[in-house]
């Protein structure tokens, strides 16, 4: 057993600036990560709700091994698209000018 390994997290290469300056680009990155975490929490809650509909108590393992049905996968996809649509609405609207 090896000590906990840390893999590289940042890619080497040019880092272009997209918007006004690096800080705005960073803000966008932070907002997208937060949006992702909202989606993760929502899916976790969803998993727990589905498990609890079947039985009274659940374990962490139940959550990690939960396999959503095709219907649920579809529902989650639609919910994420809606979340993205709301979060990215200003950008979408700008491109519809």
């Amino acid at each position: 057993m090896n000590a906990k390994i840390e893999l590289p997290r940042i890619a080497k290469g040019k880092k272009p600036i997209y918007l006004d300056d690096r800080s705005i680009d960073n803000l966008m990155a932070m907002i997208m990560t937060l949006t992702q975490e909202i989606s993760v929490l929502r899916d976790r809650l969803d998993t727990i709700e589905h498990l609890l509909a079947e039985k009274k108590t659940i374990s962490l393992e139940d959550i990690d091994t939960f396999e959503p049905s095709d219907d649920l996968v579809k529902q989650r996809k639609e919910r994420r698209q809606l979340l993205l649509k709301r979060v990215l609405l200003p950008i979408e609207k700008d491109l519809e000018k």
């Binding site: 090896n2 390994i5 966008m28 989606s39 959550i63 939960f66 996809k77 994420r80 491109l95």
Partner: protein, 382 residues
Amino acid sequence: MTSKQKHSMQPQPNHDESVRQDFVTDLRAFLTDEIYPKITPYYEKNVEPEFIKERNRKPKDKSEVRDLMLKDKSYQSWSLLQRLSQQMMFTAVIDTVERTLDDLIERSKQHNSLGTLELDNEVEIPKYLTAYDIHQQPGGYHTEKIEDDIAPGVVYDISLPIYSRNSMGDENDLLSQAIIGHMQKYIKLPEPERMLDIGCAIGNSTLPFAKIFPNAEIHGIDVASPCLRYAHARANALGVTAHFSQQNAEQTNFENETFDLITSCLLLHETSHDAIPKIINEAYRLLKPGGWMMHLDVYPFHREAIEPLYDFLKDWEIINNNENFSGALRNMNLQQIFEDAGFIKDTIEFTSAEADGQYTKGYTGDFYLKLPIYLAQKPNIP
């Protein structure tokens, strides 16, 4: 195994890792299907008219379009999001690989009964792979952090379905299926005795050849040892016999006239000006008389003028996803390089192979359904 594991060498993501990866898949779908199609009409309505007002003509090429678009906040917002989605993909995948790596390495040691693996730590990683991390995969494909490391290979294998929105197939072999389709349709190639896939990475484009040529000896080479270790374990997980060795395609240890067929998938655009003629000359040396080489790549060689905006958008990966050599490759005279190597002039072709992809619209579809393929045959005189 969960539905995310396609074979026994892939890790099992925990709940949150799994849905975090799903979010990235859906973000990429949203950017591709909802946002990307709005760019062309936006440009035609807003960006181009401003230019025409000032200059009394349309932008003449992609560099003029680039000057306009890089200043445009609406376009740049999409571009930034697209770039971020790639970074988020790797972060989400690396979480799982980092957590499960010890177990995966142990498992890889049980996956070795089929085929062979030969590593050579004398092989130098070319500068074109160390100067920057292609596709923004942190650490690239060659970096080893631990003994018997396979992490970059695992990361690549499980990020491909997210990158491609599940359109690469369960075994990530859409691209080599395109080569095989093209080969079966247009080339009369008897079943090879031996074939070689250069720059094979995790062997996802190597193994399909073992299936259609069950009696052939299938070889894959790459410079990245962690990918090759994973390629060998992965081939075993899929029950396919193939031989992987750590070699640079510019100069290999194989003897003259060893192979009937040499292929590459998305290799050439990751190399360099100097490397291209060396790779082609080496392929010529390794082919038997009458043998074929087939290279599948991303960038077509345009003969005719194309729409400057489309030309600019097609370069997105170069500027924004560390594909630094792709643009230069498009300007190289490959026809001449193939001829100079000795390939039969009439057999040299720069055409496209059809991939049987699921997604036809937007960014991903544009790029990955009609894949440029470059082929040539070595003269049949010994």
